[in-house]
């Protein structure tokens, strides 16, 4: 897994260096409308804001839970407003959450074939409509930009995946989903900055470090606020129908 990540980063770096050294500059597309698809692998977690009476639970959870990998997939559309700015809207699916630390299973009378450990991952799945303003900082082969925005998040389900491990290395997964009991709607802030590279007149790619933080607690309880957030690298392929 680590080797694969290193290879991907090497290819990306080589590509960026090659592109940076190319002679073609000042060719930022002035297309009025652009469309794209994006994939955003990320690390997600949650922040807890529990009232005094629930602090024991906050402490317990903070000692047992850690960030998990998550991802987001989106389709997006963009309209250029002026030389430096464009409005972007996107429809995305994401699954941020957290997981527990790997924990040994204690049996009253242990046997070799009994499960030896477990780890549980919790994902809040959302369908979101996001809007942002892409502010271009330059006009070159590489266009640097910042992209602040927000999203309205519709809760789909909370998915629980328990990995049960055995002493012989075998693993099994138990999955379940809860569809109710959580805030059905959410509002999140998005902050991103990125580089856009024009592959041709019609195609471009963007690489955007992106941070998204929920502003509405996933748990509607007033004494136990829980906000989901993630940080990741958004990779966008952009297409323009205009030549």
């Amino acid at each position: 897994m680590m080797l694969m990540k290193r290879n991907v980063l090497s290819v990306l770096l080589a590509f960026l260096l090659h592109a940076a050294n190319s002679q073609q500059v000042g060719k930022e597309s002035g297309h009025k409308y652009e469309f794209g698809i994006s994939y955003l692998p990320s690390i997600s977690y949650r922040s807890l804001r529990f009232s005094k009476s629930q602090e024991f639970l906050e402490t317990l959870r903070n000692s047992n839970e850690i960030p998990k990998y998550s991802f987001s997939l989106a389709v997006l559309a963009q309209r250029r407003l002026n030389k430096n700015g464009a409005v972007q809207v996107a429809l995305s699916f994401s699954n941020p959450g957290y997981k527990t630390k790997e924990t040994s299973v204690i049996w009253e009378s242990p046997r070799p074939m009994y499960p030896a450990f477990h780890q549980v991952s919790f994902s809040y799945q959302y369908l979101s409509v996001a809007a942002g303003y892409r502010f271009m900082l330059n006009d070159a082969k590489f266009v640097c930009y910042v992209l602040p925005g927000f999203s309205l998040d519709g809760f789909i389900q909370r998915k629980t995946t328990m990995v049960i491990g055995y002493s012989d290395g075998k693993k099994e997964k138990l999955k379940s989903a809860a569809h109710g009991g959580y805030s059905a709607g959410g509002l999140s802030l998005i902050a991103a900055a990125g580089i856009k590279y024009n592959l041709s007149d019609q195609f471009a790619i963007c690489v955007e470090p992106t941070f998204k933080h929920g502003l509405i607690s996933v748990n509607p309880d007033k004494d136990s606020k829980e906000y989901v957030y993630f940080f990741g690298l958004n990779m966008v392929l952009i297409f323009s129908p205009e030549k």
């Binding site: 529990f50 009476s53 629930q54 024991f56 639970l57 959870r61 309209r79 527990t100 924990t103 299973v105 204690i106 049996w107 009253e108 009378s109 046997r111 074939m113 009994y114 499960p115 477990h118 549980v120 919790f122 409509v129 309205l152 519709g154 809760f155 629980t160 328990m162 049960i164 138990l174 379940s176 989903a177 809860a178 569809h179 109710g180 009991g181 959580y182 805030s183 059905a184 709607g185 509002l187 748990n219 509607p220 309880d221 007033k222 004494d223 136990s224 829980e226």
Partner: protein
Amino acid sequence: MVKISIAVSIIIALISLGYLASCYKMTSGSEDNIKFKPRLADYGIYTGVPGSLAHSESYKRYELSTPLFSDYAEKQRLIRLPVGSSLTAVTDELPKFPDNTIIVKTFFYYNNKTDTSKGKKIIETRLLIKSNDKWNAATYIWNHQQTDANLISAGADVPLNWIDESGNPRVITYHIPNKTECGMCHRNRDEITVIGPKIRNLNFDVVRNGIMKNQLEYLQNVGIFTTVDPASFSRLPDWKNTSFSLEQRARAYLDVNCGHCHNNGGLASHTSLVLTYQTSLTDSRIADKKKAIEELMSNGAMPFIGTTVVDKEGLQLVKSYLQTLR
């Protein structure tokens, strides 16, 4: 083009705001009219070692003929009425509970169900307290030492393991519901209500002090009910008792596990599927929706909340019953 874009944006914004407002309405819980105590011990429910679940004399134990499936958890049910009051059974439905009634349900797992002397792990205790004609609900999570439980409102996930009655090791992530989830099952026409202790679900034989007797009579003897004649009330079948017909057992299972939402005032009233036991087969629309029932129960999508694993035995019963329907 610009005007169209602005108009579309405004429409999307308005729809989104409306959606968020409806989401808030759907998930906001009703306010309690009492303040729950922070620790379960403050209610004096248990005597001696709390982990033994030996209860004080003022709380009376009751059982249900067909209980709700909750991820194979064992349950201890208790009721306490205010001094000098008792319940009157009028119909097969819920009796009228007086103010200050406390209903207690504690969820636990035996470490080894083939040998219950090997101890248990208590997970949570739920309280329903009636005050000013309104039920209030709270959940307490037991500590690791099993000496007491703390009030929680957020819900929690508790990984746990046990040996089941067949001697197989089981590991699950038990989910303690948050306050909103409690209300999803316990709410009927915007009011929190009790679900389990309907007269028909109490009307069966139990063993008390080594003697088998009708539970309604027993509860009358200990002061919970005024004079009650069990023969004048119907009985909800025990879904595991094969002396009842397949239909009776399956309908009892569906009533207890699904009927609190699938009724005219419940969370799933919009589905037109009514799964209460007393509803006729035609009115229930079970036959019309048998494919959906089987599919949703098989993939764990139903029951909507309250479980993280499929009740294989219950599912098999319902599937067998559905196959008999045309």
